[in-house]
Amino acid sequence: MSDTNGNGALNGGGNGSAGGNGRSLLSLVPKTDVKQTMKDFKTDQEVRWCPGCGDYAILAAVQSFLPELGLRRENITFISGIGCSSRFPYYMNTYGFHSIHGRAPAIATGLATSRPDLSVWVVTGDGDSLSIGGNHLIHALRRNVNLKILLFNNRIYGLTKGQYSPTSETGKITKSTPMGSLDAPFNPLSLAIGAEGTFVARTIDSDRKHLQSVLRAAAEHRGTALVEIYQNCNIFNDGAFEPLKDAAVRDDITIRLEDGEPIVFGADRQKALRRTPTGSFEVVNVADVAASEIAVHDASNPDPSMAFALSRLDQPAFEHTPIGIFRNVDRPSYDELMRAQVEEAVETQGAGDLAALLGSGDTWRID
């Protein structure tokens, strides 16, 4: 954690550490003095996802990760929209709000900007966040509201039983597109980076260790963290991310981003990324290039073009897929700025006096 003794005031700013992670707002959330376990975050509610759904793995990963943060359970809130993933809050023994399709970031914005003492998580899916709720997602990102958004991307509509989603590949045959979908899909990370996102990451439901490492960084991030989680829907889109899970090929196509490290991958770390003159990335053999030509990952670079170029690498279909933290830059969160204005108003004008306010402006007295 970059800052464990912050006083919660805006002053102090980012520490400009190499990780690009400025002061964490987690210091404003009360800590627990009892040891927590995964069990503390389970509810008595029966989990009702389909057997084999990737959501189970994510739920277990989150429940077993949260004790690490050591926050008081009552100061953690999960807010969701509508969809399979959005049932998530019912299974978390924290405060929770299962809201309306697409609107979770808006509702969470009201909560986060009025309650700095809460750790606010948004759980959403590709349809919820990128289709009906696309507007709220991009505005939360540009404002940098202190939200941790977990975007479960299964590239299909699950709860409505199998229509194509805004991340489905063009030409996808579904119930609503018997001749193939016509839509060009969104790339959630490219969208988030374009929307001025300050923390943009990707992970996979089946890789708990990686998932939790990304969650850890997200939790500590100052502002909006968008974490895309590749999540398998075994009913309507089974195997959507199979290449990344198939032991035979996954190491050759998965690029694990490590901040400050050369981008090298492959089962024998034989491949690397090199930047082309146009700014995109190309895959090269480590043996063929000088070490200085291999790109070094720099998540905290204020210039988003490198992160954007990385986000384009899995186009069109998992040839080379980076996972990890693409972008992690420090910028004051909307919450801090909003609080600072209130504090400044109180400081410079004094706390509000209702009688004085009502009697302000042109008044006259009648005796």
Partner: protein, 613 residues
Amino acid sequence: MTKQVQQLDRVIIRFAGDSGDGMQLTGDRFTQETAAFGNDLSTLPNFPAEIRAPAGTLPGVSSFQLHFADHDILTPGDAPDVLVAMNPAALKANLGDLPRGADLIVNTDEFSKRNLAKVGYAADPVTDGSLAEYRVHALPLTSMTVTALEGYDISKKDAERAKNMFALGLLSWLYHRPTEGTVGFLERKFAKKPEIMKANIAAFQAGWSYGETTEAFSVQYEVKPAEHDAGLYRNITGNAALSLGIVAAGVQSGLPVYLGSYPITPASDILHELSKHKRFGVRTFQAEDEIAAVGAALGASFGGSLGVTTTSGPGIALKSETIGLAVATELPLLVIDVQRAGPSTGLPTKTEQADLMQAMYGRNGEAPVPVIAPQSPSDCFDAALEAARIAVKYRTPVILLSDGYLANGSEPWKLPDVAALPKIEPNFAAPSEEAFEPFRRDPETLARPWAVPGTPGLEHRIGGLEKADVTGNISYDPANHDTMVRLRQAKVDGIANDVAPLAVDDPSGKARVLVMGWGGTYGAISAAVRRVRAEGRDVAQAHLRHLNPFPANLPEVLRSYDKVVVPEINLGQLSMLLRGRLLIDVIGYNQVRGLPFKSEELQDVIQEVIDSE
């Protein structure tokens, strides 16, 4: 030169000009002077939705009507006694409202061939005799202003723009208005542009002096101050009063106010006003759209703030799903609808009362929401406090129906005694070691506990899915759904026992006809009722603040009269509710012209009903 001074008991002035002529400002300053002088007053701004429609055209006409008197008045007046027309378009657009014999002040400088042609005048009405039935004062206001400002270091354009201050000075002289307030206002407004400030003050004073010296005006008028109760007063618009009411609700409840809003006419001024009051801990969030605005407000309510969202009819349509969520999750939420003429975009700057059905029923499922309406600009303060009280006490969204007329209109407001304002008790659920039941209700109010995040032991999940009674767990049980639908309805219905009974004004006790309205029509209806009584007829009057639930005594009140007249600026929405819910027939009187009622026409309607008895 000594002028004759004539006493008047009341005057209605309308300032009209191009959108860029500063008529709203002129009207507002005259209003402030009038308020400071001690007259009772009521105002009606009327402006186009376009910010600057093409200059000199009919759609670009902006006007401001002010009614002031030496006695208490209720409306901005039906027809002006004096019309100030700054150009031919303003004359043409307003002449139809001007009664014979009224004073007409026209700015002849703008009556060029080109400007006349723009609005279809073949000949100059000022000189062709067509205005013979009015007392016309044809004055070159622009050139007199420019002449008066020779010697000031400002452009000709800036000098011309000061013509509204010249007109204000002239009218201020004509009606004996105090001038210090306007001079002080100009000093503040143009503090950073001293030359412009001096020029505007000079134009204002030149207008005054012109009145004193010219032979064009032989008479000066005086309207004595009105009798008011002792106290401190200010003039206030509905939107300003509503904003202050929201701040007061925050103070009285101890809850931080959180406004989520998206700009929309005619509600935006509430966002502007509340954004100035951060020292009260008020947070204002200008959201990306109407849905996010109400979403953020509801999220803040979940966190223990007083969540508020402000909008107009089209915004309510967008927010309806979230209002439904607030019904289902039973969280306090204040939803302000400053109604404007619809459907769809409609007439954004014109008033209407046609969102009543939307407020009542504009949601999927059985989703009862308390609805209340203020009756005058200053009453918006009390209505906001009342709406917040109900929202917090009953854990429910409340819709407050203001309208464009109340929002922009103004009247003197006797400031309330802050110490006497009602307290609002949030009664948050307290930390507990026992299993928490988020939908165990208070047996009296049927309200559920408000358990905010951060409270140990009360961790729970809420949402739009149907919940089991008491436990709040998701439930698809048919009987439970039936129970929950009825409980939510019963909770809202029960509020009827917690609001003031409907008061009836029936001074003679002999009336057989009752006139009942709701919301912003109070002034016009009351003025009409006075006229009817002055003509020797008996009529009773009542005005509904609570549209849902109705006050408990409403059926009894309605049944004690032979006939009930319900005037509304819609096609009969309250009439329909009264018939549908109470099986009581009423006589609707309905207009949807984007304008408030005229009391004279309501007088005719009421008298006709009485005389047909």
